[in-house]
């Protein structure tokens, strides 16, 4: 992919992260890394978003919240799990209140590793997800595919 056709917006939710990845996601928006040059804007409203960026792992309390935000994002959408906690639970996977990574609730398209994930790798992950977003969009528009909403995880 050499250029972006659209300006994808992200919505960020902190599932049960320690903040390390959250502040690195925010650092991506600020002058040093500046993802706005790609047209990427952090929005607070899931209905305006294309990319769902989740940090931290899933627990009983936030299960419904993550699911709810995901359901509110219009199709096509991609999910980026930022940090090792969002991927598998990380150092906290043995804690009693950690059920596991984000993919036990919603399908994840890109995993960004690191504890905390570095802004460079977060940007890399978002850019990778843009390719997947474009693919999903073209699949949606082709006449021979049914417009089925994305299926949830387990």
């Amino acid at each position: 992919m050499t250029y972006l056709k659209r300006s994808p917006w992200i919505v960020h939710y902190d599932a049960s992260s320690c903040n390390g990845c959250d502040i690195e996601v925010l650092a991506c928006l600020t002058p040093m890394y500046d993802v706005e040059r790609f047209g990427i804007v952090n929005t607070g409203n899931p209905k305006h978003a294309d990319i769902f960026v989740v940090t931290g792992s899933i627990n009983e309390q936030n299960k419904a919240v993550v699911r709810n935000i995901y359901d509110q994002i219009p199709e096509p959408k991609v999910v980026v799990a930022v940090g090792i906690c969002a991927t598998s639970g990380g150092v906290f996977r043995e804690c009693y209140n950690v059920s596991g990574g984000i993919d036990i609730i919603i399908p994840v398209d890109v995993y960004v590793l690191g504890c905390a994930a570095r802004p460079e790798s977060i940007i890399d992950g978002i850019v990778k997800s843009l390719v997947i977003l474009e693919e999903k969009r073209s699949n949606m528009n082709s006449p021979d595919t049914l417009r089925e909403p994305s299926k949830g995880g387990k």
């Binding site: 390390g20 690195e24 650092a27 607070g44 899931p46 919240v65 150092v91 209140n97 950690v98």
Partner: protein, 359 residues
């Protein structure tokens, strides 16, 4: 007669980088009551002491919070060192002090940015975070990590900073301080900022004391508590005074943090000047047997790690009390009677760190 309605605020909200849920009971536009509920970020990391050795638990303690990670790790290590009667080398204590103050700089700049964003001052948010990158660069260069440093260990620190590097750090602070003055002028003297902050979310000195406020929330209301005055790490050798404001409103809390930035720079300079030569760690033998309340001053206030060992390599209990949790009752007090439009600013003014508070 107006009717009471309940407006949910959070857990996912544009001004909140982290999830906390508040039920705001409104009469017209005025908040008459607030019911906070937490639990979205609870992990239960205190129980991991049963699964990790006490030397490994430093990593877990650091990951209590990604913003004040170094201070969490340091407070845990201080507790274990007290239980085991370890004499930590002076140079290690000074290095811990230097890294703690850099953490405070990065945390306060982060907060100033988010606070500006909550007020709708996007430009200022960007400028605060641009300056913060300088602090993160120093942390990364000296410890290897941007937000999770991993440089503190039981018995000392993992890395030394060479004297040449320390001299460069001290020299770089001059330019940083000048940049910071430009930024702080806007926070302290700009009309539009004052109109959003002055007399918004006022907390009286008595209320701050009675409700157990800590850190800049207490100091903004005129209660001069600063745990650094107890002289842990190398703070006993350094000259500084707790910074207080008397207004008790959001502007007071903002001013405390802005002035603390300069105080931190001064502390780093003093520490670099006085740092002695020597080892950076002491050999650790045996297992902790006993209990200790380890206290320190986080950017948000007093942090307590309670640690109890029974002579095995696993601790029996770790209990962490973080400043945000104790600042929630004062927050509820501030929110009662405020306008709905001021809620984001007041919530941000206590510098909530939910990752810490729920652990």
């Amino acid at each position: 007669m107006s009717r009471k309605i309940v407006v949910p605020f959070g857990p996912q909200h544009p001004v909140l980088p982290e999830p906390i849920h508040l039920d705001l009971v409104l009469e017209d536009e005025t908040v008459v009551d607030v019911i906070p509920s937490i639990g979205y970020v609870h992990r239960g990391l205190e129980t991991l002491v049963a699964k990790r050795e006490y030397t490994e638990y430093v990593y877990i303690a650091e990951r209590t919070c990604g913003i004040c990670s170094f201070i969490h790790g340091m407070t845990y290590c201080q507790g274990i060192e007290q239980i085991m009667d370890l004499e930590v080398p002076q140079r290690a204590l000074y290095l811990r002090t230097i890294w703690s103050e850099y953490s405070r700089l990065h945390s306060h700049l982060l907060w100033l940015g988010l606070f500006a964003d909550a007020m709708g001052f996007e430009n200022l948010f960007m400028n605060a975070w641009r300056l913060r990158e300088f602090v993160l660069d120093v942390l990364e260069e000296t410890t290897g990590g941007r937000v999770i440093q991993g440089s503190c260990k039981v018995g000392g620190v993992r890395r030394d900073i060479s004297n040449e590097r320390l001299a460069i750090m001290a020299a770089e602070l001059t330019q940083f301080e000048a940049d910071l003055s430009d930024l702080s002028d806007v926070f302290l003297h700009d009309d539009s900022i004052q109109s959003r902050l002055v007399n918004v979310g006022t907390l009286s000195r008595t209320d701050a004391y009675d409700l157990g406020a800590v850190g800049p929330v207490a100091r903004g209301s005129g209660v001069a508590i600063d745990l650094r005055k107890t002289g842990y790490a190398a703070y006993g050798d350094l000259r500084f005074e707790p910074i207080t404001e008397t207004s008790g409103d959001s502007y007071g809390r903002c001013a405390v943090r802005v002035r603390e930035l300069f105080s931190s720079i001064d502390l780093i300079r003093q520490a670099i000047e006085k740092i002695p030569e020597g080892d950076i760690e002491v050999k650790v033998k045996g297992n902790p047997d006993g209990e200790y309340f380890s206290r320190s001053e986080q950017p948000r206030g007093e942090l307590v790690h309670y640690l109890k060992g029974n002579g095995t390599k696993h601790l029996v209990r770790s209990r962490i009390r973080t400043p945000t949790l104790t600042n929630i009752p004062p927050l509820v007090k501030m929110l009662r009677g405020c306008e709905l439009a001021d809620v984001p600013v007041i919530v941000l003014s206590i510098d909530p760190c939910i990752g810490c508070a729920e652990r």
